[in-house]
């Protein structure tokens, strides 16, 4: 993380970006997306298909998706699968890709009372720790990787 090239790159990006976006826009701003029928985001956030193998890793990683904290998933090498949310086996038979993407991006759209975190949202949060302010839990690429992985759960 202590990489001297990064600030320089960031500054270059900012000076280009500042020509087109308001001055207060953050470098890690979310990519725009469209919710269809109130329950689906059909289009990929990155415009590309994700990588299911990487998505599986994100689901396991306690600092990233940590989906196993709450869900049973077909990941037998991991010992502890949570009981807080539904079993995700067979998920892609129940939900469309767009529905799965929305559930990851912001599950509060489907259920305002849910415990499940929004993985691609930065607004409307309260007292976020400094290191995480303005940042979504997963990047757009990581969301797409997880979506690609979940689509294999048939």
């Amino acid at each position: 993380m202590k990489n001297y090239a990064l600030p320089l790159l960031g500054m270059a990006a900012l000076s280009i970006a500042s020509l087109t976006v308001p001055a207060d826009a953050k470098a890690d701003e979310l990519v725009p997306f469209k919710i269809v029928n109130g329950n689906s985001i059909p289009a990929s956030l990155t415009g590309k298909a994700g990588d299911p193998a990487k998505g599986r890793d994100v689901a396991i990683n306690r600092k990233k998706g940590n989906c196993l904290a709450c869900h049973v998933m077909p990941i037998p090498e991991q010992p502890y699968h949570g009981e807080v949310g539904p079993d995700l086996n067979g998920l892609a038979d129940r939900l469309s890709e767009g529905e799965i993407r929305l559930q990851l991006v912001n599950p509060k759209t489907n259920n305002p009372a849910t415990i499940m975190p929004a993985f691609y949202r930065t607004e409307g949060l309260h007292r976020v720790a400094k290191n995480f302010q303005g940042k979504p839990m997963l990047t757009a690429e990581e969301v797409e990787d997880v979506v690609a992985y979940l689509m294999t759960l048939k």
Partner: protein, 259 residues
């Protein structure tokens, strides 16, 4: 149930308020002890194997050690703690007139040090504070928690309750999501309990040491990537009041042993 509430509310606002408070957490509260591993329970059950007893005994030493400009010990004013401090823990946090707000046991100990003993306040998470808070709490072991939320305490109780249900952090979760909606469920390798506070200060295996309740609050705030509050802050003391009330009737287990 809801219908009954309505009727009573129409009968009188004051009665309705009390009734609805009493029906929020229906069912008997359950101590975290009940979900602990048998080995962890055994450690707590036997004072000789309870690692927190070292700290509690140190508190006992401090009880009878003179300190500060008064040259007096706690014992010089309060006598035998087994008599004078019995039941104290069950009543805290309590409304404290000089501050016009709630005070918990740790903060009360420091008030006595400053005002009566003329000694320096202890740091909130210091060995001395952990010792004294454990020692005083220990005098109420087995007694039911019975905090007073009436009168001047009520607005602080309400604030504590709001905190409990307020989402926070990047994970956007409230205390209630884990400890009310999901107690009894595994969250990865952890079995969620009701998050009751009847055992604090507690020896946590994960900490390899004794810690205060407010250290636990900070931990639960950190877990959801939220900015925690200071130990001893009004926010945490009000939250403590609300949780003491949720756990009313639970036996004091101080000093407990937990995972």
């Amino acid at each position: 149930m809801r219908k009954n509430n309505r009727k009573i509310m129409m009968a009188g606002a004051a009665v309705a308020a009390v009734f609805s408070i009493a029906t929020i957490a229906a069912g008997e509260p359950k101590s975290g002890y009940l979900s602990a591993e048998p080995e962890t329970q055994a450690m707590q059950d036997d004072d000789f194997s309870n690692p927190a007893m070292l700290v509690t005994d140190y508190g006992g030493d401090l009880w009878s050690t003179a300190d500060g400009d008064s040259g007096k010990s706690c014992e010089d004013c309060h006598g035998d703690a087994a008599d004078s401090m019995k039941g104290v823990k069950t009543r805290y946090p309590t409304y404290y007139q000089p501050w016009g707000k709630m005070i918990n046991l740790e903060l009360r100990i420091n008030e006595c040090r400053k005002d009566n003993q003329k000694a320096k306040a202890w740091k909130y998470e210091s060995k001395e504070m952990l010792g004294m808070a454990s020692y005083i709490g220990y005098q109420s072991r087995g007694m039911p928690m019975a905090v007073d939320i009436g009168g001047k305490a009520t607005p602080f109780f309400t604030k504590g309750k709001e905190f409990y249900y307020e989402r926070r952090g990047q994970l956007d979760m409230a205390c209630s999501h884990c400890h009310e909606d999901n107690s009894g469920n595994m969250i990865r390798a952890n079995l969620l309990t009701e998050g009751q506070i009847n055992g604090f200060p507690t020896y946590r295996l994960k900490w390899s040491g004794v810690g205060t309740l407010h250290r636990r609050f900070k931990g639960c705030n950190d877990q959801v990537r939220a900015i925690p509050y200071e130990r001893g802050s009004d926010e945490y003391v009000n939250l403590e009041l609300y949780l003491a009330w949720r756990g009313r009737g639970l036996a004091v287990e101080t000093p407990s042993v937990r995972n």
